[in-house]
Symmetry: C2
Subunit: 109 residues, 2 copies
């Protein structure tokens, strides 16, 4: 992730309500974000306790704010508050560095 | 989360190996991090696909680097590479702002 990239850390707790509607909306939002100008990638995980973290990465703060203001995204956010989330927290941060590590393939033994 | 707080975003994919050892180590590391100078909090989630995200928050970049260099933490990292992880990615970012939302309790109906 390039230094200066904006990371939007979205931490949320799901209600038990409407899992199908939520999954469908999450998939649609993921696709819409990926088409949105300035999108640099996404990481997402949700555990059995209903707590999930999605980090989306944006080329600039302006891009992150534009995605926040997007009409379809805003409509889904309202639905999220009405139905899908117990609580959420959103933390915006600017990337300074990153590291990657990957297991080496040793072939079959 | 105060502006200037350092967020360390750790994204990892677990192997299927040694779940008990991993759980024990993860719990110990969580406790050790919480005792470490400059610790400001943690968010964590891991899904059924083995992909997890842990975001730890630190008062400064120096605090985040000191935790990285901690001996017990470094030993666990080696064990993680040898045994528990397929891959991981670590992104360091500086918090600029945050928002919170929580469902209002309406009482029982």
């Amino acid at each position: 992730m390039k230094s200066g990239t904006v990371a939007v850390i979205f931490v949320s707790k799901r209600t038990a309500v409407d899992p199908e509607g939520y999954m469908k909306a999450a998939e649609e939002m993921g696709k819409a974000a990926a088409r949105f100008p300035g999108y640099c990638g996404i990481h997402s995980a949700r555990g059995a306790d209903g707590v999930g973290i999605t980090v989306s990465y944006w080329s600039s703060d302006e891009a992150a704010r534009a995605w926040k203001a997007d009409a379809a995204h805003s409509a889904i956010r309202e639905q999220g508050r009405a139905t899908w989330y117990e609580w959420y927290e959103l933390i915006v941060a600017q990337v300074t560095r990153d590291y990657r590590w990957k297991r080496e393939e040793l072939g079959s033994e």
